[in-house]
């Protein structure tokens, strides 16, 4: 601390005196900075140790939380009408067309449970990538040789919310502006290497792609590859669903909140024959797509796991 104050004093002097005095003060400052740099390097080693300890503690904390808090799972299965989504299966949509989904992905963020007084309890670092997609190359800028394995991820779980009475759930589709505007910020599962940032010029426009849908459209109007992306701050949407009845959560008990994501509703709202491509350059359609994603969620149940 004393060195820091000394540095500030020298800087203050350097900023307020003439050229003739500056060089000596700069040299003094330089020497002190070198000393501080050496100390910082030593501190860096200590920080690595602390980081390992922190990770171990975090693991222990999670295990402990699972004992004192409820274990809550949020399931968000993709469905098409009454059936579970099957990739590359032709589903009937309006106008005699069929739609075969190649992949569907979106950022599910800002998860929170609602108390009876309508306040919310947030899940810390609640940034999750929900997806149903085949194996695909990592396309960070140009396509790379690295492959992202096929993934079907339609559930998250958390143990950080304390026991209590909850009457609903809230989450967002997309990424909040603070993180969306700065790709260097990391939180939860946010990362630049998930094919959810740089496609189709997004890097030149904003940060994360909030939702990504690829599908094959076929029918009387011909075949087309549907490509729907959105992702500007204006496209962030909140989903707020009330539970059928309040749930009383207790420590170490498992609960499941099941919310189906109905792609038939999505397709009806967006109308793929009218909107084959939605992207950075189509703000009106991006907004419509964001609304459609928000509106496709239907709460099925919220209860303790038997």
């Amino acid at each position: 601390m004393r060195r820091a104050l000394s540095l500030i004093a020298i800087l203050a002097t350097a900023a307020s005196c003439g050229d003739n005095d500056l060089q000596a003060e700069i040299d003094d400052l330089t020497a002190q900075l070198a000393t501080t740099e050496a100390e910082l390097a030593q501190t860096a080693q200590q920080r690595d140790t602390f980081k390992q300890e922190r990770d171990a503690l975090a693991g222990a904390l999670a295990a402990l939380e699972a004992k004192v808090n409820p274990v809550i799972s949020l399931e968000v299965p993709f469905v098409f009408g009454a059936e579970a989504l099957e990739l590359n299966k032709a589903y009937p949509v309006a106008g005699g067309d069929t739609l075969s989904f190649r992949e569907v992905r979106y950022w599910l963020t800002g998860v929170a449970l609602e108390r009876p007084d309508h306040s919310f309890v947030d899940v810390p670092d609640g940034y999750y990538l929900v997806e149903a997609r085949p194996e695909q190359p990592l396309t960070n800028g140009t396509e790379s040789a690295l492959m992202l394995p096929a993934t079907r991820r339609e559930a998250i779980s958390f143990t950080s919310i304390p026991s209590g009475t909850y009457v609903g759930i809230r989450f967002h589709i997309g990424v909040d502006p603070a993180h969306n505007d700065d790709l260097s910020r990391t939180a939860g599962e946010l990362h630049t290497l998930k094919n959810m940032t740089s496609d189709n010029g997004w890097m030149w426009f904003t940060s994360y792609i909030f939702t990504k849908t690829r599908a094959d459209l076929a029918g009387p109007g011909g075949a087309a590859v549907v490509s729907w992306d959105n992702g500007s701050n204006d496209d962030l949407r909140e989903v707020h669903l009330a539970f059928p009845s309040a749930i009383e959560t207790a420590a170490a008990v498992a609960y499941k909140v099941r919310v189906k994501a109905d792609l038939e509703t999505l397709a009806d709202a967006v109308a793929p024959r009218q909107r084959v491509v939605i992207g950075a350059g189509t703000p009106g359609d991006r907004s419509l797509l964001a609304d459609a994603f928000r509106d496709m969620f239907v709460l099925e149940s919220a209860a303790a796991v038997p």
Binding site: N140, G141, D181, L183
Partner: protein, 336 residues
């Protein structure tokens, strides 16, 4: 917005920027000119940043800026098109030095005083320096690199691993670290030591000739609506009536800031560049269409949406003053 100032007792001093100027001047070639503290406390307040600079972060950013491993063929660095000797521009209208050899859509702008800029690129499409830096790295016509390959290469280099460890202890070599380090380096590029700056600060070497003083008065009276403050830019976007609006024959003539905002009022609008270091950063405009300052002034003198009425003498005085905004120490300090 926040002031880059630290209050000590009753006085408020631009310490952060003073420190930055000192730090960037350290290390490197022995033939460098004497270090000099460039005070920027006559500049307007700078926006807050989430990633405060450290010496190790700036140094890592500087290494990355000049590192060709950030490109797909390992031959193109940021400095390929942002040469320090040209105040971080490249001297051509639109570069073809990128990975594909294709001529780019925009002129490579000079880099200085970016700590005061919140929206990057000619159309402001990147919201901060951290998010901006991956744009050129990944662009298929610029550096064409993948983030994954870049990280793999950097992480395999023990020198870079050590540099990342100093800058971001415990984090390893990460895309986020690359973004933050480059952003810190770019924010450290403070140009505030032109003859005009010394004139403002009342320092030796700040004498301006009569023509330059007359030119200053003309700039303040007739150009400051856009070239505002001591940054000589309002950091906004304007349609200045360029005809045609783009040098690209097949580009939508409505492009510009409207690419980002989708507002008709922003069509053909591009960033107001600073008037600093213009001797190093020719040619001018977003597509580099004007080779000389005389051509630039001729455009404004023709009238139109951004027309400026200038007599021949006033135009000569303006150009004389603009030379006083050159910062040769800034250029020399960052040359390798």
């Amino acid at each position: 917005m926040t002031h880059i100032r630290v209050v000590i007792g009753a006085g408020a001093l631009a310490l952060a920027l003073v420190a930055t100027a000192v730090l960037v001047g350290r290390g490197g070639a022995a033939a460098r000119p004497p270090r000099r503290v460039a005070r920027a406390d006559h500049f307007p307040p700078a926006p807050a940043t989430r990633s405060p600079a450290t010496r190790a972060g700036i140094e890592l950013g500087r290494r990355l800026f000049f590192d060709p491993r950030l490109s797909a063929n390992d031959r193109i660095s940021c400095a390929t098109c942002h040469e320090p000797a040209r105040a971080f521009s490249d001297g051509v209208a639109r570069s073809a030095r990128g990975i594909s050899g294709a001529t780019l859509a925009r002129n490579a702008p000079g880099l200085a005083n970016l700590a005061w800029v919140e929206r990057l690129f000619w159309d402001g499409g990147a919201k901060n320096l951290e998010s901006m830096v991956l744009g050129p790295i990944q662009h298929p016509d610029e550096m064409g690199e993948t983030v994954a390959r870049m990280i793999e290469q950097l992480a395999a280099d023990p020198v870079m691993r050590e540099a990342f460890a100093r800058a971001f202890p415990g984090e390893g070599v990460t895309p986020s670290g690359v973004m933050r380090a480059l952003a810190q380096y770019l924010r450290s590029l403070v140009s505030a030591d032109s003859r005009y700056d010394r004139h403002v600060r009342g320092e030796a070497g700040g004498e301006l000739a009569d023509a330059e003083l007359r030119g200053l008065a003309v700039v303040r009276a007739k150009c400051a609506r856009c070239h505002a403050t001591e940054l000589f830019t309002d950091r906004a976007f304007h349609d200045i009536g360029l005809d045609p609006p783009s040098a690209l024959p097949d580009e939508d003539p409505r492009r510009g800031r409207a690419r980002v905002t989708f507002r008709a009022a922003d069509e053909r609008a591009f960033r107001t560049p600073s008037l600093r270091n213009l001797s190093y950063t020719a040619p001018y405009m977003h597509d580099g269409r004007f080779a000389t300052l005389a051509e630039v002034l001729a455009h404004y003198r023709r009238g139109g949406v951004a027309g400026v009425a200038l007599t021949d003498d006033e135009a000569d005085d303006v150009i004389a003053f603009l030379r006083a905004l050159d910062d040769p120490d800034f250029v020399a300090r960052h040359a390798r």
